[in-house]
Amino acid sequence: MARGKHPLMKCRHCDAKAVVNMRQHKLALCGPHFVEWVHKQTERFIEKYNMFTRDERVLVAVSGGKDSLALWDILLALGYRADGLYIGLGIDGGLSYSDESHRYITEFIEARGGDLTLHTVDVAGIYGASIPDAARLTRRGREKPCSVCGLSKRHIMNRVAREHGYDVLATGHNLDDEAAVLFGNAMVWSVDYLSRQGPVLPPSHPGLARKVKPLFRFYEREMAAYAIVRGIEYMYDECPHATGATTIRYKELLNQLEESSPGIKLQYVLRFLKAREQHGLFAQVREQLDLRTCPTCGQPTTNDGACSFCRMWERVNDRRIEQGL
């Protein structure tokens, strides 16, 4: 459809109207060709970074947001053996955040005929308190529950992947996520994190699953566009606890740079990974990492004795007993 006398941007591969213009790639595509491009690129990244094969079982961590649902959709479309994992965090925030997130996942499954496997872990049901309640009961999360949330999700994702025999755990982290984390770690020269950040985290301990990020080279904007073009309904509202999050501030800063220098975010992440690989940046830090086994849960820890997850939940449940909760 023409819009007045102004010419519309055309798809590079056909005469149709472009719906996405990716300035960093100098590439504009129509809906069908954009979907095809995302699928091909994802396949390429999975192979290039040796993430997994079609014979392996993949557990996709789904939150109900655009990235994780897009990832599940892409892996299914590409024919991978991908199941879902949803962690019920018990976050309300006045908008029934967790319940709504779960609803979007249920709708996603129903829209694909209902024949998908979803593992659901209800944090309050299993561990005794929701994430916000646990945060209130422990020093770790008194100001914000994000730390308690991250620690718990990492543990649960590992546990479910191991218990159900998945070869790999896939998350929907995109390029903007990776760039913001890299920026944050580089700002304070957190060499431990800088030594590990990447699209593939191999299991450095028998209690860990291999973790992969197949979407790590796509901009967040592209994943939102993919969800819209594919008709994937997702949880649009932000987690109520993410307001003012440092990650979002870093993303905004990086997007300011991207506006004047298209592709700068992508180069920032890719050149960091290349420099680390080719020049051995932080290699010594990686070698020094001394992982032990938590006697309670069997997952790795740098602590003597119980891991941070087990210690935290022990404290939470001690406080619950003290307070008669």
Binding site: R3, V20, C149, D176, R221, A225, Y236, A245, E259
Partner: protein, 77 residues
């Protein structure tokens, strides 16, 4: 000039209405989606635009009577 409006949802013949979360903005026709996003104080790198239910690129020139839904693409925590 962008004006923030609270109630009106039907654009006048000589204006374009943009909605973003719970906010509404009006701009004059003739500017690109990218410029309109910037005028609304948003980042074009973190915003998508939908007109008549269809995703549009930033270079599309807005026309009088257009209703544009702007979507935030940044999330995090």
């Amino acid at each position: 000039m962008v004006e923030q409006q609270q109630r009106r949802s039907t654009p006048a013949e000589d204006e374009v209405i943009l909605t973003y979360r719970r906010k509404t903005f009006t701009v004059a026709p003739g500017m690109t989606v990218r410029d309109a996003i910037t005028r609304c104080g948003l980042s074009p790198e973190a915003t998508l635009a939908v007109i008549d239910g269809e995703l549009v690129t930033d270079e599309v020139v807005l026309q009088a009577g257009d209703r544009v839904k702007l979507l935030a693409t940044i999330s995090g925590g």
